[in-house]
Amino acid sequence: MLGNITFGQYFPGDTPVHKLDPRTKIILTIIVIAATFTAADFWAYSLLTAFFVFVTALGRLSFVRLLRSVKPLWPIILITFFVHVFSGQGETLFRLFIFKITGAGLTQGILMSLRLVFLILFSSLMTMTTSPLELTDGLERLLRPFRRIGLPAHELAMMMTIALRFIPTLLQETERIMMAQSARGADFKSGGLTRKARNILTLIVPLFLSAFRRADELATAMEARCYHGGEGRTRMHELALAKSDALAALIVVFLAAVLAFIKWCG
């Protein structure tokens, strides 16, 4: 019941998209998303859609699954849409109760929602083709220059790795404990508020205990392997940029340039 979270899940593969350097993917994703936010007309969005389809096909991902990753954020997209529609300026198109709907508001609403959808789609594209480990590795490398101003890049990346690693584990654990307490007659779905609260307690106490136990075990295991933070640490897999990274960068820069051209000249 908790296992159906697709947003951010990694789908292993052996495609050119999977094989790109994580740093390249992070930076290019940021550029594409920034470009999305400047896009403002039909042609720009057609181009973005084409690009999205191209990358998805290249990465052999399922469109359905990608679209499903938008689902949890529907409410936010809808709210954004209506806020813009109702607060639009200009000539009134028609009235709805006390609101006046304007052409400008409608366009604005559609644009903003589209941008959000693309934001989610492109970031899902990245997380679905990059393992969490690679992702944090890439992030650590990208943050490394900021160590000079006191940013603990390695520690941040390690924290992220551990958090990402344990989210599914804790979800599974929650499900297991829920079942175990249901086996003793606990009912998490119905009943009064006090009863519900008490039942939740039977879930939270074991869950916390298990999280602490796991943290403790992990800390011991890391220390037993002489982990002492980022100082002087070498890695087994050094990240290395390849030709394909340059090619990907070229494609994205070209895309951004065309989008900019459409914006200023179109």
Binding site: A183, R184, G185, A186, P206
Partner: protein
């Protein structure tokens, strides 16, 4: 009426690359009063099947019925059916939550809506079963018990529900031999007294044959053997090997003795029986003048 599974299948993480078939088209029926051992190698789907039997995990295909009612449905009847099956999870000590052992064991009976007196009585009996007298352990925090005691307290929490079908998922993993022996003694007594069905998951064939009169062997999500232990060791040794399960030591001993010309019964599953058989055939040593 029995606990029955009909063509039950389950797949974890369906529709993702991590998809995994854990239970594959399992059908079986367990009558009240039976003592069944479920055995199989790691990852063969035993725990998943146990969750289906307890009505806690709705199968993706097929149907579970507890005394004729689908426990995974909605409504009161399903809830009643669900409460007829009690499942002790693998590592049940991780589900303790209350401030005292008594409160934890009493959680189930209280959920049944019983009067406090009856709750107390049930908790006391269940703790007796676990050899943790309520006077001594009732007021202690479950988190200050030893690992084995925590496990036993958690098992008592399910026993206190007095289910018709008690399912135990490797209840003694990590017990010392003495504690294991005591636990099985108590379990045997409980089974005899209460007339409940006990379904016990275990990795040890020795334990399985000591307690159960029916053996289910699981491999790759399927029940590949279902029957009486003696018959299985006699007729289905090949399947047993294929499932990665070995016959108990006493069976191989009997085999070897027979291979060396001792004409003894092949169905001995108990040391005493084997001794009696041997004494009967040893020249000049009838059962009468043993020792």
């Amino acid at each position: 009426m029995p606990l029955s599974l009909e063509n039950v299948s389950y797949v974890y993480m369906k529709g993702t690359p991590y998809e995994r078939r854990a239970v594959d088209n399992v059908s079986l029926e367990i009558q009240k009063g039976e003592f069944v051992a479920l055995i199989g190698h790691s990852g063969s789907g035993k725990s998943t099947l146990a969750q289906h039997m307890a009505g806690l995990l709705p199968p993706l295909a097929g149907q579970v019925k507890i005394d004729g009612t689908d426990p995974c449905a909605k409504g009161k009847e399903a809830l009643t059916a669900r409460r007829k099956a009690g499942l002790v999870f693998q590592y049940p000590e991780h589900q303790l939550f209350a401030e005292t052992v008594f409160d934890d064991v009493a959680f189930g009976p209280r959920n049944l809506g019983l009067a406090e007196e009856e709750v107390r009585e049930r908790a006391a009996t269940a703790l007796d079963f676990a050899q943790m007298p309520i006077e001594e352990f009732g007021a202690r925090s479950p988190f200050q018990l030893s690992g084995g005691q925590m496990r036993k307290a958690a098992i008592a929490g399910v026993i206190a529900m007095r289910p018709d079908y008690l399912i135990l998922d490797e209840p003694t993993a990590g017990f010392d031999p003495l504690a294991r022996g005591l636990f099985y003694e108590e379990l045997k007594n409980l089974h005899k007294k209460s007339g409940m069905a006990v379904i016990m998951i275990t990795h040890s064939m020795e334990e399985a044959i000591e307690l159960a009169r029916r053996l289910l062997v699981m491999s790759g999500g399927r029940i590949i053997i279902d029957g009486q232990p003696e018959r299985i060791f006699r007729e289905q040794r090949g399947e047993l090997l294929a499932a990665g399960v070995t016959a108990p030591a006493i069976v191989s001993l009997t085999d070897r003795l027979r291979a060396h010309g001792f004409s003894i019964n092949a169905d001995c599953l108990d040391a005493d029986d084997l001794v009696a058989e041997l004494l009967a055939v040893l020249p000049g040593k009838g059962p009468g003048d043993a020792r």
